[in-house]
Amino acid sequence: MTEIPKEEYVLKGTTACAGCSASLSLRYVLKVAGPDTVLVIPASCSSVIQGTYPNTALHIPVYNIAFAAAAACASGMSNAFRELGKKTNVIVYAGDGGTLDIGIQSMSGAFERGTDFLYICYDNEEYGNTGMQRSGATPLGARTTTTPAGKTEEKKDIDAIIAAHNPPYMATACSAFPQDIFKKVKKALSIRGPTFIHILAPCPSGWHYPPGKTIEIGRLAVKTGMWLLYEREYGQVSISSPSKAAMKNPAPLEEFLAPQRRFAGIDPKTVEILKQRIAQNIKRLTKEESGVC
């Protein structure tokens, strides 16, 4: 059993939606990181979650920065701290829009330059802060306010893009598995250089399920293989335990899709494509773990 510290850095009084799993994930991230940490946050749900000036619900310094600029800002900050001889953790906490779309250039640059920081993308598969518009992370078939008939393109594989930068450590995680998040953040922060964690963060307000089901939806994403949990340390892939069983015998995808109104009326052909993609991803990841690829 992982010992989770009692200290809280996400205080009461956040302005997150009910059932927000991005703030839940952040709670565990900060429990690992501890007080000698600066969080860099681009425009995202987390700009809202922290509360409004002069109050803050986060008990660590938070540096808010423009949408496209989080990784670059963190890059400057990390270099300055190291120049000052300080070991302060610099953690970017960015959404999928700020990572896969508008922030991809500065993120790629910071990884290529070997910036000593942890970049966390909490992925709610939409522009949540602005009212649930499509992002590059929105899955095929999902309805958003800008894809009212369902998205016609597939989710961008940001993890493959990050992997191409050869960071010393990267991992996927899911808000429904806090102990897994805890372990991965701990490992990432113990490694010098650029590290990346991609956290799937189900969003009741945008995925349209009751807030009380936020953990259940996250678990179903993993159980169905729609979301695969793994680590890639110096190139070596290891599949995380919650995904191991699921990958051998994934639950029917419909169990994940049905409770979410964003998938209401999804075309059976689209569901087939999603299923094929899951099978391919499982095959690819299994091969990568065994080193045969």
């Binding site: 423009a66 670059a72 400057g76 900050m77 190291r82 000052l84």
Partner: protein, 370 residues
């Protein structure tokens, strides 16, 4: 030390002596000489800074913001499209009250691609909360850069400063340069709002209208306070190093009936035109505007004024002419010249004065007039 140097080299030399902890920059013609020289200094240990070779200008300014927020000295340099690309972040730097110093090598904006001198790039940054100084010689590039750190980091200012030098005309021109030993001319930076994990603060979170409005006023208040800081800094520079600078550089203005107002190298060129005109019996003078933000009070009452603009606000007028009109309550003769690096000689400038039509506007080489 006496040497012959380009404007780019002069800026880099001043940066070496100011010792920023973090420099983040992206190359663009004609600024490249600055970042290449700084990279040389850092590589060979002549400057102990972290040099971050970012992937864009947007990131250059973002990285300077992140570094500056920890309380260390920062520097970047850019030009033209690079400056426009970082525009979102230049606003952020001023709003976050970070004393970042930037050299901007003034260059035209495409299309068509044009790498030569024009002020449109910096003028489009006018309302961001940056202090802007425009210089006219290689020596001044060096001096102004040293002073920029002291001004930006002064507790009454804490706003970023942009040092503007004309592309190629200054960035690549070789002129004599006398460097100094700055000593404690630039005191250590003490940023009152530096990030401190033992005192957790949210920087730049969601802010309601009342407080936001107050923050904007705070920028303006510091901009006004910067006037005396600039004056003190320039006086202290003159006392220590013997070179005197003002908000304007006035040449034979005292008894002048007609005054040429311009920024950058055109303002220097105007001094030769003034001599020519004086020989012809025209009581001309030149007032080269150095500080565009904060905009100084100019003593132009009772004279005719010829303003030369190296930028234009489409649908309204020359930017400098507009500023003179508004701040001095006078109607100048507005000459638009030198766009896209157009050659403008002192003879041309003398011609503008001879053929002035007060209240009129003339696009040199384009519209009929002279």
């Amino acid at each position: 030390m006496l040497m012959v140097a380009t404007g780019n080299r002069a800026v880099a030399e001043a940066v070496r002596q100011a010792k920023p902890a973090v420099i983040a920059a992206y190359p663009i013609t004609p600024q490249t000489g600055i970042v290449e020289q700084i990279a040389e200094y850092v590589t060979h240990g002549d400057l102990l800074s972290r040099y971050i070779p970012v992937e864009s200008e947007h990131s250059a300014m973002a990285a300077c913001i992140g570094a500056s927020a920890t309380g260390v000295r920062t520097f970047t340099a850019t030009s033209s499209h690079g400056l426009l690309y970082m525009h979102e972040m230049t606003n952020w730097a001023a709003g976050a009250r970070l004393p970042i110093v930037m050299a901007n090598v003034n260059r035209a904006i495409g299309p068509g691609w044009n790498i030569w001198a024009e002020h449109t790039d910096a003028i489009q940054e006018r309302d961001t909360g940056w202090l802007q100084v425009y210089i006219s010689t290689v020596q001044e590039a060096y001096d102004a850069t040293l002073m920029a750190f002291r001004i930006a980091e002064h507790n009454d200012v804490l706003l970023p400063v942009m040092v503007n030098l004309d592309g190629f005309l200054l960035s690549h021109d070789m002129q004599p340069l006398e460097t100094v030993e700055p000593g404690d001319f630039i005191p250590p930076l003490h940023l009152p709002h530096a990030i401190d994990p033992t005192n957790p603060v949210a920087y730049g979170p969601l802010t309601g209208p009342d407080q936001y409005f107050r923050f904007r006023w705070d920028i303006e208040r510091s901009m006004r306070d910067s006037v005396s800081v600039i004056r003190q800094t320039q006086a202290e520079f003159a006392r220590r190093f013997g070179r005197t600078y003002g908000f304007t550089d006035d040449y034979r203005c005292d008894d002048a009936d007609v005054v040429v107002v311009a920024m950058g190298t055109l303002g220097k060129e105007a001094e030769v035109a003034v001599d020519t005109l004086r020989n012809e019996g025209v009581k001309a003078g030149s007032m080269r505007l150095r500080w565009f933000r904060p905009f100084p009070k100019l003593d132009l009452a009772g004279r005719e004024v010829v303003v030369i603009d190296r930028s234009y606000s489409f649908g309204f007028g020359g930017t400098l002419a507009t500023s003179i009109r508004a701040s001095c309550g006078i109607e100048p003769y507005s000459v638009i010249a030198g766009l896209g690096g157009q050659e403008v000689t002192y003879d041309d400038i003398a011609g503008f004065v001879r053929n002035r039509r007060i209240g009129g506007e003339f696009w040199f080489g384009v519209t009929p007039g002279v």
